[in-house]
Subunit: 113 residues, 2 copies
């Protein structure tokens, strides 16, 4: 809802909406971790050294709200929470692969200077 | 040079290098403006309402250093400065188109909630 409202109010273009959505400091690493098979917040915390729990939860909530992630809560003791990528999230992963390839060119380009 | 050093020191992955490189607040809008045929800093200033000249120049310098843009200085009076995309910059534009398409899905997804 947030993004739709922003798009309507400020006439932002889809590219801007996309960039805004993934620009949280740890959002791309989170997508990557889930893509690599991790599911639980505790695993993300281990995988992303510098993030703290509060920021991680905030990012996860926003990404669920934006339709990139799905949250599943299992009725167990202790309670288990898992996140997975939606179809939209999987599409983002494909673009991140392109961006990863571009990053390789960038590092290579840089080493020529 | 900066990115290469970062990549070696922190073992950052190409994706992280890519995201770091384009994460300056106005860098994607600048790439877009140049892609649309604009060349001169004064045109970028008109095209990106909220950016100030100092930040714009800083972004432009970093993007030249990273190999995304080329700066040309024409020996005229008044002096004329133009920026254009390198091959690497053109490749970034292609990925931004993918991201733009993804942004459309995102806005659409959002309107379903």
């Amino acid at each position: 809802m947030k993004i739709k409202e922003q798009a309507e109010e400020n006439k932002i273009c889809p590219l801007e909406a996309a960039v805004n959505t993934i620009s949280g400091k740890w959002k791309i690493p989170i997508v990557w971790q889930i893509h690599e098979g991790k599911k639980r917040p505790s695993e993300f915390l281990r995988g992303i050294a510098k993030v703290d729990r509060r920021v991680l939860n905030q990012h996860l909530n926003e990404m669920v709200e934006d339709g990139i992630l799905v949250k599943q809560v299992f009725n167990e003791l202790p309670p288990r929470v898992e996140y997975s990528l939606t179809e939209l999230g999987e599409k983002l992963v494909k673009i991140l692969w392109h961006l990863n390839d571009w990053g390789k060119l960038l590092i290579h380009e840089d080493s020529k200077v």
